[in-house]
């Protein structure tokens, strides 16, 4: 059964995350953006906006985020309010709840309104007391009810539990009714069925009723252990409804007729009524009284139809022809039999498991849009371009689909593991459908997580068998999903290795969970080299074990001393290699204090302490703190974790530092504002001290927000004529720089050299032009990184607001995305960062709930890791928010009702200016101070200016240059130029680049083929030899530092110093060897000066620990001049040296020269 085309798989993913969204509805996003519609200009006396001092607001300034209502109409026209006594009762109840929540230490739940009565706070608190460290809870956010509770024993008062098991299950519901928000569980929950496992675990299912009527698809489960303890609860239900009528307005007969007519119109089938009943039907978050009519037409057509009992409106229809959840079994790749939870559709069984507590029947459209399922899909040997259901007509026979059986069973166990162990509902913690794809490609010997699905190849039969045949492989890939929805560690260098490490952790722990004594610390042993037994992909306990298949030479690292210092082009910095170092630490802790404690510590570290740029040291610090959180400071657990990291060489007390703030630009401050009357752009000091200057002298286009260079001297914008303009920031020397009138928005780089631009066309593409070297222009294709409601894959259709980081290597942008869903189009805005050096896109936020949009991002003036932006929630309310890209901290600056704020930071980042109507004008600019935390607004919003908009702060002046550089020089010697430098603290940098120019003013071009790593210093000095000396007499070099956030910083420029004459006679030179890194052979090049004549020459190889490893030349008597020597990377015995970095040392007489070489096999 083929289900989808290559486009509609996006709809497949969208459906799995929808929160009861309606397909085809116009979203709030589409009613606001793309392109902007300018408000009609307000007629007023010319010049009145800009005369005198700052315009006074119409009403006195108000306090608080929402307290800026000069006019009641801006609040949506709401007047009056609830009765006073109702307000008082509500306030009293709230205060009592908060008191009780504080007493029971459940303030978080009270703040989130998951518990709403003092009794519920006490209930929850007692559960924590009775189940210390074993209580797991998950909440249904929308309904604020528990969706999952697990613990050692959830019975608080044993005396209440008497009688049969079923009666005890009822007792559980009564005892916890406050927490469950059920007024009368005895009447609201009616026993439905019971399931008992072989071991004696019992699950009692109850259907929810209201006023004697069933609530469709609402039920709960109470679980008991074999020895009678209540150990779990889960359910899809809602708090006791109120205010619902039980009296139908539409008679039964009319509902039946409406149902039959609706089906005839829709399906062309005229059926007849089989039965009917009155129920409550969930429609969005509300319940509707409805008639449930079963219509049948022969054996193959039987539909359940819901008709609104008040209006007669057709609500929904579901097939009853052998549809629904089913069970079966199948033979997996290991030849074992696996129980399967399936979905039956008209006599065909599909591998869609809807048995988990996360399944949302009301939101699902089966079988192609399950919400909260574990789903196995067949890629039919395509590159994920086509998806098919895995089907059988016999639920107990899956011949030819053994890999799907394995994937289904293992993915199900992963869900169970994280739900049971961490209380986590699926990979995103919110019941996201888990999708595994088998038969990826042809003989494809790999498996991966691509951000939406876990895909598994069939293997090549030699190196690997079908990758779905390994539980730890399947659960490793799903572990990536959990990482993505938590710390979201980026896939490079140590963050990437930590990401891979956690994936191995999840894979191995799930194996231990599911197989008990059959678990181990080997990864992929079931699928590695099918013809060879005993080997594996990785060994977490002993990474350098000889049974590891095809390790990097000489072996996977076990300690930081063996760390593979690779470039970004080499496995993104060795993410799949260095992962074994923290994995070894993890196993050490497991074996010392047990897996149960260790997995909780690691999970807490991942979800509470790590962020996307976390290094190994941050994992160490997070895990130690997590151990302290769970077991106490100075506990044996905390010490064990610290010792384990010490053992593998991950040491230190300082975590990854935030990048330092940029020094303030202390020049003249201005705000650029747009005048809605004529559409021109003006600049004005924040204090309105002087008249406003018209700097654009023409009308600004819909997306043409002005952008300034960092020193405020240049401005770029797009005019209403769709042309790009550039000018001095005082408006002088304006020039149109575009040829074709097809531009929408622009951004100018900090240095004023690069211009990012977006066309008016629907395309996910940003152009970046070099204003100094025009031929260097390029475009960047954007990939949707943010999952909003579950959409994956890159359907970026329009980028709008853009801003360069001051360091220049990143472009912050927002983009409109489009996804197909249910026959309609769903659009949303999100925010991303584009790294210009390689075009990599990074999401700023994780899954955006459907119906929400974020946009209009702006960077802080003095920090490239703090942004402000607009956030519109599903109700259309707009908040101006902040977000720290490094720490993940967020704040709320102001509540802006339904108006987009388009914020901009002040020069010292102490204020934010934003748009909001003011003084009776639709366009205005407000200002609010930032609280000391730098993230939240201080609540002192006030109108700064009216009849103006699109505020953009800029400062005319230069920033002082921080002192990073200690020395920088370049000398010409022996036919080449040697650039040497020292920095104050090399740890601030990842590496360096050298650029060469004909003059200090540029232009510069890069002359280092790759980044010089920050650990390449010899005796504190870095060095680069330029074999292509410049021709110009005034040639110079510019040093660029790449800091730990990836920013490029210009550290200095130096001219060339002529060499000292005597050095030319005595100083030997080591030229760059090539290739470097090398795998087989490299050519060593060196120069012997005239002064070395008669002196023996040695060429030696030392490792990073200073040990002599090879000596290609020993005591050779060579003539002065250039020499070359082929070296195969072996020692004197011909044994290849290990992969890694080495020092090459040339000594001729008394003089020595050194250079670093790298072996990469």
């Amino acid at each position: 059964m083929r289900i989808l085309t290559s486009r509609s798989w996006i709809a497949l993913l969208a459906g799995s995350m929808l929160l009861l969204g309606m397909p085809g509805e116009e979203t709030a996003a589409s009613s606001i953006r793309a392109p902007y519609e300018l408000q009609p200009p307000v007629t007023m006396p010319a010049g009145s906006v800009f005369t005198g001092g700052k315009p006074a607001p119409v009403s006195p300034p108000a306090q608080g985020w929402a307290a800026k209502r000069p006019d009641a109409s801006f609040s949506g026209g709401q007047t009056g309010g609830p009765p006073a006594d109702q307000l008082l009762a509500g306030m009293r109840g709230r205060l009592q709840l908060l008191q009780e929540a504080r007493r029971w230490n459940v303030e978080r739940e009270a703040a989130r309104q998951w518990i709403v009565t003092p009794e519920a706070a006490a209930n929850l608190g007692r559960l924590h007391q009775a189940n210390p460290r074993s209580l797991r809870l998950a909440w249904h956010e929308g309904r604020r009810t528990p969706r999952f509770i697990a613990g050692t024993d959830l019975r608080l008062d044993r005396s209440l539990y008497a009688g049969s098991d079923a009666q005890q299950a009822k007792a559980f519901l009564r005892e916890h009714r406050e927490l469950l928000r059920l007024s009368d569980p005895d009447t609201e929950l009616v026993r439905w069925r019971v399931e008992e496992s072989r071991e004696g675990f019992r699950a009692y299912r109850f259907k929810q009723m209201h006023q004697g009527l069933p609530i469709w698809a609402h039920d709960v489960v109470v679980r008991f252990s074999p020895d009678g303890r209540a150990i779990g609860f889960s359910g899809q239900y809602r708090p006791t409804p109120t205010g619902l009528s039980r009296e139908p307005q539409i008679p039964r007969s009319a509902a039946v007729e409406a149902a039959i007519t609706a089906l005839a119109r829709r399906d062309g089938v005229v059926g007849e009524e089989e039965s009917n009943e009155l129920i409550y039907f969930p429609h969005g978050e509300k319940l509707r009284l409805a008639w449930r009519v079963v219509v049948r037409a022969g054996a193959a057509y039987r539909m359940e139809v819901f008709v609104d009992a008040a209006s007669g409106e057709f609500l929904h229809a579901v097939s009853l022809v052998c549809d629904g959840a089913a069970t079966g079994q199948g033979v997996d790749l290991a030849g074992g039999t696996q129980a399967l939870d399936l979905w039956e559709e008209s006599g065909t069984y599909l591998m869609v498991n809807t048995s988990k507590a996360m399944f949302d029947a009301g939101a699902s459209e089966m079988p192609n849009n399950p919400v909260g399922a574990v789903w196995v899909i067949n890629a039919n040997h395509t590159q994920l371009e086509e998806f098919y259901h895995v089907t059988s007509t016999n639920p107990d026979s899956w011949t030819g689909n053994a890999n799907a059986v394995s994937a289904a069973a293992y993915a199900s166990s992963f869900y169970d593991f994280i739900a049971t162990t961490f209380g986590r509902s699926s990979i995103d913690g919110a019941g996201r459908t888990i999708m595994t794809v088998v038969n990826m490609g042809s003989n494809y010997a790999n498996a991966f997580w691509n951000g939406s699905v876990a895909a598994f190849g069939n293997g090549d039969g030699a190196s690997f068998s079908d990758l779905a045949g390994s539980r730890d492989v399947v659960c490793h890939e799903l572990g990536h999903a959990v990482v993505e929805f938590t710390a979201n560690l980026i896939y490079e260098f140590q963050p990437g290795a930590t990401n891979e490490h956690f994936a191995d952790v999840f894979g191995s722990l799930t194996e231990w969970y599911a197989e008990g004594a059959g678990g181990n610390w080997l990864m992929g042993e079931d699928v590695t080299t099918p013809g060879v037994s005993g080997d594996c992909l990785r060994n977490m306990e002993t990474p350098d074990h000889p049974d590891v298949y095809n390790p990097p030479a000489p072996h996977f690292p076990t300690h930081m001393d063996e760390y593979f210092d690779l470039t970004s082009d080499q496995d993104h910095g060795g993410v799949h290699i260095n992962m074994t170092i923290p994995s070894r630490a993890f196993v050490i802790v497991c074996e010392a204090i047990g897996r149960d404690k260790t997995q909780q510590i690691w999970y807490r570290a991942l979800t509470q302490y790590l962020n996307r740029n976390s290094q190994f040291i941050d994992l160490r610090l997070g895990a130690i703190q997590a151990a302290a959180d769970l077991h106490g400071a100075e506990s044996i657990e905390e010490q064990t974790v610290a010792d384990a990291f010490d053992t593998v060489g991950i040491v230190g007390e300082e975590g990854t530092e935030d990048p330092p703030d940029l020094p303030d630009n202390e020049g003249s401050d201005f705000l650029a504002i747009w005048d809605p009357d004529g559409g021109h752009i003006y600049r004005v000091p924040p204090d309105w001290g002087v008249d406003a200057d018209d700097i654009s002298q023409n009308a600004m286009g819909g997306g043409g927000r002005p952008s300034f260079s960092d020193d405020g001297s240049l401005v770029a914008w797009v005019g209403a004529d769709d042309h790009i303009y550039l000018a001095n920031s005082d408006g002088s020397d304006r020039v149109q720089i575009s040829v074709d009138a097809e531009w929408w928005s622009v951004a100018l780089s900090a240095g004023g050299r690069y211009l990012a631009a977006k066309t008016v066309y629907e395309e996910g593409r940003i152009y970046v032009f070099d204003l100094v070297e025009p031929e260097s222009g390029a475009y960047y294709d954007l990939v949707t990184q943010n999952d909003s409601g579950g959409e994956g894959g890159g359907n970026v259709i329009f980028a709008d607001v853009m801003e360069f980081a001051v360091a220049g290597d990143y472009l912050l942008y927002d983009a409109q995305n489009s996804a197909d869903f249910g026959g309609g189009v769903y659009e949303y805005w999100d925010i991303n960062m584009l790294r210009l050096s390689d075009g990599a896109c990074f999401r700023v936020f994780q899954s955006l709930p459907q119906g929400e949009n974020i946009g209009n991002p702006t960077l802080a003036q003095n920090q490239d890791d703090l942004i402000a932006f607009d956030h519109m929630d599903g109700n259309g309310d707009v908040y101006v928010r902040t977000f720290n890209l490094q720490t993940g901290d967020q704040g709320t600056v102001t509540y802006n009702f339904s108006v987009l704020g388009r914020p901009t930071f002040s020069g010292d980042d102490g204020q934010i200016y934003y748009q909001y109507p003011c003084s009776g004008y639709d366009e205005g600019v407000w200002v609010v101070s930032m609280a000391p935390d730098g993230l939240n607004g201080a609540g002192n919003d006030e109108c700064w200016g009216y009849n103006c908009g699109y505020p953009v702060w800029f400062t005319l002046g230069e920033r002082p240059t921080p002192v990073w550089l200690r020395s920088l020089g370049a000398r010409w010697y022996g036919g080449q130029v040697t650039v040497e430098w020292q920095v104050v603290d090399a740890a601030l940098f990842v590496g360096f680049l050298i650029e060469r120019g004909a003059s200090p003013d540029g232009p510069f071009e890069r002359c280092t083929p790759e980044m010089i790593p920050a650990d390449a210093a010899v005796a504190g000095s870095f060095r680069f030899d330029d074999p292509l000396p410049p021709d110009a007499a005034n040639a110079c070099y510019r040093l660029i530092g790449i800091d730990r956030s990836g920013r490029s910083v210009s550290l200095g420029i130096t001219g060339i110093t002529p060499p000292e004459p005597d050095l030319m006679l005595t100083q030997p030179l080591l030229r760059p060897n090539g290739p470097n890194p090398f795998s087989r052979t490299t050519t060593l090049r060196f120069f012997l000066p005239a002064g070395s004549a008669g002196a023996p020459t040695d060429l030696s190889i030392y490792d990073l620990q200073g040990r002599l490893r090879a000596r290609p030349l020993a005591g050779a008597m060579l003539d002065p001049g250039e020499h070359t020597l082929e070296w195969e990377g072996c020692d004197a015995r011909g044994v290849p040296l290990d992969i890694g970095a080495y020092y090459l040392r040339l000594q001729a007489g008394e003089r020595v020269a050194t250079r670093k070489v790298t072996i990469a096999r």
Binding site: F448, N450, G574, Y761, Y779
Partner: protein, 164 residues
């Protein structure tokens, strides 16, 4: 104005933005095959952590590589003639690879890196995500390169084929 004058800006009024707005249309097919044309493509990561792919060198030599990083341990597996390489060059231009930049990093990454006329262009993406290109997707170009390098097809047989 600091470094730019209206006169200088006037120069690139004509050069920067003219014709820069349509991918795939901007650059006419070069009749001459660049002498330094080097194409490296492959994928790596995933559960195995291994990287594998091909390099098509300026002299037409086809190398297959596999290891724990890209381009490790290259082994010669064949040769492409100039006509085949010229056809690939045409396809590469049609896909807009020379103008585009795309850099995705994921659990598993595919990439195409091209060096021609002293310039290097690279695109990287995660399989299963939509990835752009002037005509069709990078995935379709990758498939063509793979099939050509392995001898399973020739770019001469696929002119005008649209990507997915």
């Amino acid at each position: 104005m600091r470094a730019l004058t209206a006169g200088i800006l006037g120069l690139f009024c004509l050069t920067i933005l003219a014709g820069c707005t349509r991918s795939g249309d901007r650059r006419e097919n070069e009749p001459r095959l660049p002498g330094d044309l080097m194409i490296v493509f492959g994928e790596g990561g995933g559960i195995t952590g291994l990287w594998q792919g091909y390099s098509i060198q300026p002299d037409g030599a086809v190398l297959r590589w596999e290891g724990h990083a890209a381009e490790q341990d290259p082994q010669r597996v064949g040769t492409l003639d100039d006509a085949t390489r010229a056809a690939l060059w045409a396809e590469i231009q049609a896909h807009g690879l020379l103008e585009g930049q795309a850099g995705e990093q994921g659990d598993l990454t595919r990439f195409i890196r091209l060096t021609a006329e002293d310039q290097t262009h690279k695109v990287a993406w995660v399989p299963g995500r939509r990835a752009g290109g002037g005509r069709g997707s990078w995935e379709s170009l990758y498939r063509l390169l793979t099939e050509t390098a392995t001898g399973k097809s020739s770019p001469h047989a696929t002119p005008g084929e649209t990507g997915d």
